[in-house]
Symmetry: none
Subunit: 212 residues, 4 copies
DNA sequence: CATTAACCGAGACGGTACGTCCCGTCTTAAG
DNA sequence: CTTAAGACGGGACGTACCGTCTCGGTTAATG
């Protein structure tokens, strides 16, 4: 404090600090409800009761149930690993296959619910998109980038379009339920992605075409 | 499906017949609410009030709000046309481009809402999948089939996978909002579909691989 | 019903009729709570729960808890009797003494609560005043009127002022608690009322004085 | 009250002393809320916010909102004066008339609220009774006492009963609202009190009667 | 051509959850 | 040791809709 007390510090506000214990209890209660009776039965009142917490405490920190679930999921320690085998195909398969498997099992219902929630709440949609969804896109984009560095594929391949073509069908099957989310599907997705990444001239041509 | 789907004569029972006027008023009220304040605010009570109809009348004919909306949309006269230009690429583009445009405009919000609704209601999900969604898949599958007939592409191309790769990314962008639903995106989708359909050996190989 | 169907009838509206059973259960539950744990613990939620009724049903028919209690009390069969002994003093004493006794016992807390409620709710205040309170004033006014008819007291006595001087001190002791609500007090009240009613010229003189 | 109310030196303990500034701000905020939006909307949180004070500070010094209001009112400089005209009638009228006028105007709502509050809080009721209420009773009792000293009325008149008969109807009209709180009413009260004080034998006789 | 069964509007019902308000208590940092 | 700030568990509020249940009244095919 030698003069110059510019408030660059995070402004250690007065007042009782947020209870880490309550936060933990809330997230855990939400996860428990999610796993036992599903998202449909997850209510703020239910979470509050199970966590031994007042509703107000929940509303103070989360705008709606979706945010709680999202935070519970993303603060979950088991993160999606970043595959790095040295081979584009293997990297993709190691990314896509476990993801498809997870969606076919316990992650499916939660994912459905979160996406459904996002359709009616623009703010939550943005949060979901920029955190959870983007994390997964980033992994794939990183894989493609490394393959370009290695010279395995050309620099004209568009990682964004590739991400659409991998995650799009995955979500489509999850949400519409017209086909299985199995290993065959995972391999097909991988193969399709490979094919589109290997022969890339078409994409660049399209961009030029659009610029007309 | 060899004709005779009259399920043993529905036995036109006595009593007052269903009011066509009420049905019309209900569907119209639902559409009006959808267009003005959105699906979130669409409640059975609201529709009943706006249509000047009792709640019971609605519950007698529709299981939930989603079904009303679905019927309101599918009874809408403007149907998706079946493109038939003689060229696979042009057929695909004429299918995909208007669809993307529609989703980018007024169809988007309703589509989001229907899909969201389906995630919490398995029965509605099936209805949505087997009617609305399947209609669109069928058009694409038909286009691919005709191209195979013409010899433009081989018979080993998998129309189902193609449908996934076209509609998946479209829904993904609609629901996640990470990218534009514009003409460039439509052309990219079309180009990707073409590439995957033209060089097809990989897919068949994968099927064999899975059979091991 | 010989022609002439003028709608003097209470307009038998459509829709499910009000449930007499629910009404009864609500009033009974309110009384029970009142007698066991007191007005302070009487909440709409509590009444609804104890009556096996939804909150909405209560709110549909009563604006607040006070109205329920008021109705429960006034629909109670045990009414205040109208004394008629032929003597003004005895009539007054038979009116005042049991009333004071009741206030000193179980009626006291409820009365306090209703009056307290009325101070914060003008609409309820009017209801309380024009029903419960006025009923009691009317009995006293009637007693005084009959004494005037008998010639026991003059016609210049003001029954309204008398009512103030009888009920005022009673409520004052109830609400302020500075003195006992016992038989001595009842007799003092009665004697005071008698004295004021017997020698009445002063009151008329005051009225003339005010008219100046 | 013979001076020396220093209760054995309060042992001026260490630590930050009570903030007179906060006390003033709290009382003022309470008064402001009372005058603008009424007692119903007066909450501890509201007072704290308006006074720029923490809730804890309020709770440290006042048990509930009622006490704050009571202190705010009694610390108000304008005290009820003690009339001393040498005439019992004039003393009474000069006491009663301004009091009735005050209740008819700005004092009414606050008084209602304080009495209402007292009905649900025995501790506050006692405080209200032994301070504010008793002060007013004492003035009247003092007036009557002086008249007895002067020989204007006999010593068998009961000042306590008289206080009941004056303040009772006043409160009754205030709380029940069945009649005006105007000058005519004030004069009637005064006249009634005079009549009861002048001819007193009845009261003593009653006491004897009760002792049987 | 009367019966009668199914329909219709209105609207009350038991219920669940919502999001808000305020309570009285507590836990910080600052003075 | 007090203060401002503000988070905490808790309780009740009044509202919105849910899906069901009576009512009084239509409306057409059937007997």
């Amino acid at each position: 404090m030698t003069g110059m007390d510019l408030e660059t510090k995070p402004k250690t506000r007065a007042g009782r600090p947020r209870s880490a214990e309550s936060r933990r209890a809330i997230l855990q209660a939400a996860l428990l409800i999610l796993q036992t009776t599903g998202y449909r039965t997850l209510t703020i009142e239910g979470v509050a009761a199970k966590a031994g917490v007042s509703k107000q405490t929940i509303y103070r920190w989360w705008p709606s149930a979706g945010y709680i679930v999202l935070e519970a999921l993303t603060s979950d320690p088991q993160q999606q690993p970043m595959p790095d085998t040295g081979s584009l195909y293997d990297d993709l398969l190691e990314l896509i296959r476990p993801m498809v498997r997870a969606l076919a099992q316990r992650r499916g219902p939660v994912m459905k619910a979160l996406i459904a929630e996002a359709q009616a709440d623009a703010r939550f949609a943005e949060t979901l998109r920029t955190t959870f969804m983007q994390q997964h896109r980033d992994i794939l984009i990183n894989i493609v980038g490394r393959a370009q560095m290695r010279g395995e594929i050309g620099f004209d391949a568009d990682p964004e379009i590739t991400a659409d073509l991998v995650y799009g069908p995955m979500l489509y099957r999850l949400l519409n339920g017209h086909g299985e989310l199995d290993d065959l599907f995972a391999r097909n997705l991988t193969a399709s992605a490979m094919r589109l990444l290997k022969g890339t001239p078409a994409v660049t041509r399209l961009r030029a075409e659009a610029a007309e």
